[in-house]
Symmetry: C2
Subunit: 66 residues, 2 copies
């Protein structure tokens, strides 16, 4: 299986948010992650980069509006 782990980049550091991610799709509130088990998470951010052989997806957090 070729699922990956999703990390959010916060203050330049990756933080694990979800394992076994199959799909990532744009959502009105950011990005929707869907695992191979059907679990879903919506993250305020966008896909920053991928390293598929390492099974990693990096998501850049959307800065909060002030």
């Amino acid at each position: 299986m070729c699922e990956a782990s999703a990390y959010i980049i916060k203050d330049g550091k990756p933080e694990l948010i979800m394992d076994s991610v199959d799909k990532a799709e744009p959502d009105e509130n950011g990005i929707r992650l869907i695992s191979i088990f059907g679990e879903q998470k919506i993250i305020k951010g966008s896909i920053h980069s991928l390293s598929l052989v390492d099974h990693k997806i990096f998501i850049q957090e959307t800065p909060e509006a002030h």
Copy 2:
């Protein structure tokens, strides 16, 4: 191996641009794709969505400035 094929979405239709993609990274001109063979391509666009179990990466083309 868990590489994927990258498609660019043009007029709503996916068009294959690169096979065996390992990494995708932001570049000043868009997104840099790097294959498991070290081949590189820079695409004017951003990562739209992923379907990893299907080995697919979708890239949204950046609209040309007019």
